[in-house]
Amino acid sequence: MTVNEPIESLNDLPKKDFLLGRAEACRGCGALIGLKLALKIMEKNTIVVSSFGCMTLLATYPQTVLKVPFIHVPSNPVAAASGIYHSLRSAGKEDINVLCYIGDGATYDSGLESLSAAAVRKDNLMYICYNNQSYTGSYTSSATPYGAKTATSPKGYQYFRKSLAKIMASHNLHYVATASVAYPMDFVRKLQKALSFPGVKFIDLLTPCPVGWGFDPSNTIEVARMAVQTGAWPLYEIENKKFSLTVAPTRLEPVERYFIMQKRFSSLNKNEKERIQEHIEKEWKCLLRKKYWEVSEY
């Protein structure tokens, strides 16, 4: 059963781990932290569904690192999760949770039709999108921020990304939120709140990628924290259409401090950085007044 007692501090985190360790992931991978925390809360009665992406490498042959059932479906993974939910319902096993732990490539781009349809059908799914703002660290996706250098945008990405949390909020879901691995208590509380609602629950988790973003693996948490402190990744939740910021720094750091930590922003010039700073400040003012639909995120 999922852990329902409120978790007040990191000392209250359940001690049992459902990942064996020694995964074939890069050193300092942010996505592994998210999966570890999610499985600690959701516990044994969980089936994990994933699609093509970094987390495919967790379940290698012949050994896997997951102690819960896992299925890898290349295409339309949310439809597969719906299939599991309905078949468990027909067998009377409704206490088993379905967790979709899917990357931003298969959420923002190719899997969006399935996610949208599952949200309308109100299937009981917990959806966590581990967002490293690219396809496995190397190529642009619809979640890549303006100015980021990748293999398919060598001079910096020329477009502003979309904010999927706001799109999912318009599907009348009970719970939608954004989170970051640098704030584990915030993420765990959001997870527990989400699991108490029926229907599709969506959390967009920022997981920095040392290989793709260009920083030393020990700085993963520092980068994720700076994204929130500069306003580049605001943390909020929309619960039954009510918006609230969950981590609000009293004063935003200049976004330059976020850019210098990563090699992927090295092609931005001074004008572009000022433009981005203005954009973030305008967006922050709207978010403080709870008008989240008026500005797009950076």
Partner: protein, 90 residues
């Protein structure tokens, strides 16, 4: 090279699936070694929560590094608010 007539049918072993083996001897590759200084540690559990490989366990109330799982990414050293984790020679 094998003739197809001579290859046997393996039943369940012919299906691609994998299991978690808790008793596996596989060790993570690491270049450096880290150690937690229990006298400086205030048991805030930040290192335990943020380790990507889950290599930090709780033993006797204090966090403890499992060297079979640690791949020395240094996140715990960076994030410890009390500077209680240090690099030691292997």
């Amino acid at each position: 090279m094998k003739e197809i007539e001579k290859m046997g049918y393996l039943d369940e072993k012919g299906i691609p699936f994998s299991r978690a083996d808790e008793k596996s001897d596989k060790k993570a590759t690491r270049e450096k070694k880290l150690k937690i200084n229990k006298r400086a540690c205030t048991k805030c559990m930040i290192c335990y929560a943020l380790c990507p490989e889950g290599a930090i366990e709780i033993k006797g109330g204090y966090p403890d590094i499992d060297y079979k799982k640690c791949n020395a990414c240094f996140i715990c050293l960076r994030e410890c608010p009390d500077a209680a984790i240090e690099e030691i020679s292997d």
